[in-house]
């Protein structure tokens, strides 16, 4: 292993939101920073559903208003689907809290900010391993070359091969991960606004529960971009591997061709298909530390993603954790070095941040999502109630009557109450 002729204060692995936020924050403070990315461009290995919350990114990046924002999500729709029936709940308010975009565009923008701040960004570089000497991470190995740094920030994403190879985390278990699969379908800007009842730069976030996932436990989503829609599924891998019968792309295709959804994509053209793992059980339940001598872990690699079932927070959590990792490096630098002890401030900062507060608050959410009835029984019951209320011209039932008829033989009162309590407790 040959040492290259350049040395850095900090090496950040992975130019996704976490890595770029960390590299940007440190480069701005005058640290000599190297950000390495294995994809052709920053973000080319990233996949998200489609929505990002703006405020945490605004805290991290100066000039955030120039970021590539497609539409501000002003319309939230949650639907329970079974068969060809769908009951929806919709909330519309013109506030600019979260937006849709292409993650690759956003990640490229972030990496450009790193370069503007004086950091060095290298793409098409796959790190083979973290170099550990005397129990301390001293740099990275790429092929037969080593690049040294005082500290490495690992933002390699959910598939934590470097941490695994360094023996710092166990192999990621299937039950800890979800699988997100999606298609991006091109439509015109006007078509999107007409189809979804949106004003210019307004966007829709649509979450669907029920058999739209082809029976796999999880949910479906649709986000409107500027002139395309992202439509896909997130399934819980632990359960899905037992039940999946076809290639996962078929499930997305079935979703696109669903009788209630097909109308939105009829004039569209598929531009992109992608799939990616999603942290499902997040950091509080994962067996690892986020710091070691010469090392910090941020973003998906740290399991910092919040999945509420009706909403996902991944990109902003990742970026903010990268930002905190950078702040921890600054502090450790002031304290005299990148020792495990000095870097442990990172975990304290995370604990005090919105990230860990929320992750702790919703720590039961993953368990709740394992309850199969949420995806099968309840959408069926709700749609059956609606069906009776609106499609019984001569004999309109009372709501309670309809409900009883709908649930009989499907679920008992006891399970119902228990599930209700669980949902209320979890989210």
């Amino acid at each position: 292993m040959k040492e290259v002729g350049y040395k850095f204060d900090v090496i950040v692995v992975g130019a996704g939101p976490a890595g770029s936020a960390a590299a940007y924050t440190l480069a701005k403070k005058g640290f000599k920073v190297l950000l390495v990315e294995r994809g052709r461009v920053p973000g080319s290995k990233n996949v998200f559903g489609g929505r990002v919350y703006a405020d945490p990114l605004r805290d991290v990046f100066d000039g955030f208003d120039e970021a590539p924002i497609h539409r501000w999500v002003t319309k939230e729709r949650i639907s329970l689907v079974n068969g060809e029936a769908m009951t929806s709940f919709e909330f519309h308010e013109r506030k600019r809290t979260s937006f849709t975009t292409y993650l690759t565009e956003l990640a490229c923008w972030m990496a450009r900010k790193v370069e503007e701040a004086g950091g060095t960004v290298l793409t098409e570089i796959t790190v083979d391993e973290l170099v550990v000497e005397d129990g301390k991470v001293t740099g990275i190995r790429v092929g037969d070359e080593k690049v040294s740094s005082d500290v490495v920030i690992d933002a390699e994403g959910i598939n934590r091969l470097l941490l695994e190879r360094a023996g710092l985390v166990p192999k990621l278990e299937v039950r800890y991960a979800g699988l997100g699969v999606k298609e991006v379908i091109k439509l015109s800007k006007k078509e999107i606004e007409d189809l979804f009842g949106l004003d210019e730069d307004e966007g829709l976030a649509w979450l669907m529960m029920g058999d739209v996932t082809g029976g796999l436990p999880g949910g479906a989503f649709l986000y409107t971009n500027r002139d395309s829609v992202s439509v896909g599924l997130v399934v819980m891998l632990g359960e899905a591997v037992k039940e999946v019968r076809e290639h996962i792309s078929r499930y997305v295709e079935a979703l696109r061709l669903h009788p209630l959804l097909e109308r939105y994509f009829r004039n569209g053209r598929i531009m992109e298909y992608s799939a990616h793992l999603v942290p499902e059980y997040t950091w509080p339940s994962l067996p690892h530390r986020l710091y070691a001598d010469g090392l910090l872990v941020a973003g998906d690699a740290a399991g910092l993603l919040l999945n509420l079932g009706y909403n996902f927070r991944g990109v902003d959590y990742a970026a903010y954790s990268g930002y905190l990792a950078a702040k921890a490096v600054e502090k450790a630098h002031e304290m005299g070095g990148m020792t495990s002890e000095n870097l442990s401030v990172y975990e304290r900062m995370l604990e005090e941040s919105f990230i860990m507060k929320q992750l702790r608050k919703f720590r039961n959410a993953p368990k709740m999502r394992e309850n199969g009835r949420l995806y099968t029984t309840y959408p069926e019951v709700v749609n059956s109630v609606m069906d009776q209320l609106f499609h019984s011209p001569y004999e309109i039932p009372k709501v309670m009557e309809a409900f009883k008829r709908a649930k009989d033989g499907k679920i008992g009162w006891l399970d119902l109450v228990r599930d209700l309590l669980e949902v209320v407790r979890s989210v």
Binding site: G5, T120, L122, G143
Partner: protein, 265 residues
């Protein structure tokens, strides 16, 4: 010690290119560009010769400045220098005007061997290598699959469908590498760092080269493309029969007879 010049082209990635059915031209908008993959094989051959005999590899390309990303890539592979030949005056060039400019660039360099890829994925003419050899009056062999030095002569193997030919070339010479023969190497982190931190890419405009405007760009290009005709898409029925293989065979036979594709003799 071999001083080599490699010509590369920055092209739209045609695996994802669409052709406008009305105008018959490439839709380049939003299509990511790449280094022509066959040119990466030319770079690889140069780097292997450098590994073997020592020397220097200079990569040149005539392109708008977006090709810098491509030059960064080949420098990452291990090329020593790169020259971006870029000027509005060069725009609209056909292969003749392109090869003229490249030949004039190469004339200013100290070289033993010039290497090109077999052809480009966006136009597949395979003209430029041959034309550069002609402008510079150099021996030229194409479809080269292997090259080595023997007593300051370059011995190259040229692969044809049913034979291999071996040529011995006096240097300087020009070769083009048969496509799909060499696997381009990964970029090295040290090379990429050198690119970012030392910026070894030079840009030469026509102010540097001072070429006659009649011989370059659109004006220096006698080629006129009169028409592109699209091959009509054959409609496919894409019928799937699920079930027993025996049944399926019967079903398929009936279908083929129905379509008049099979007849009982």
């Amino acid at each position: 010690m071999l001083k080599m010049v490699v010509g590369i082209k920055w092209v739209p990635n045609t695996t994802s290119v669409n052709i406008d059915p009305k105008t018959g031209t490439l839709i380049r908008e939003g299509i990511p560009s790449v280094v022509n993959p066959h040119d990466l094989e030319a770079v690889e051959m140069a780097l292997r010769l450098k590994d073997e005999y020592g020397g220097k590899v200079t990569v040149i390309t005539m392109s708008p400045p977006s090709a810098i990303a491509g030059l960064e890539h080949v420098l990452g592979m291990g090329a020593d220098e790169a020259i971006l030949v870029s000027d509005r005056a060069f725009a609209g060039a056909d292969t003749l005007a392109t090869s003229y400019v490249l030949a004039k660039v190469i004339e200013r360099l100290d070289y033993d061997l010039i290497i090109f890829g077999q052809e480009t994925i966006d136009s597949s003419t395979a003209h430029v290598g041959a034309q550069v050899a002609s402008w510079l009056d150099l021996p030229y062999v194409y479809y080269v699959t292997h090259a080595e030095l023997r007593d300051r002569k370059l011995v190259v193997r040229r692969s044809l469908e049913n034979a291999h030919e071996t040529y011995e070339l006096e240097l300087p010479a020009l070769i083009s590498v048969a496509m799909h023969t060499l696997h381009p190497r990964r970029v090295k982190v040290s090379n990429k760092l050198r690119v970012k931190l030392e910026n070894p890419i030079k840009t030469w405009s026509n102010q540097v080269l001072g070429l006659d405007p009649e011989c370059i760009g659109l004006r220096g290009s006698p080629t006129a493309l009169s028409k592109i005709e699209m091959v009509p898409k054959v409609p496919r029925k894409n019928e799937v029969f699920r079930g027993d293989a025996r049944e399926a065979a019967k079903w398929l036979l009936e279908k083929l007879m129905e379509e008049g594709l099979l007849k009982l003799g």
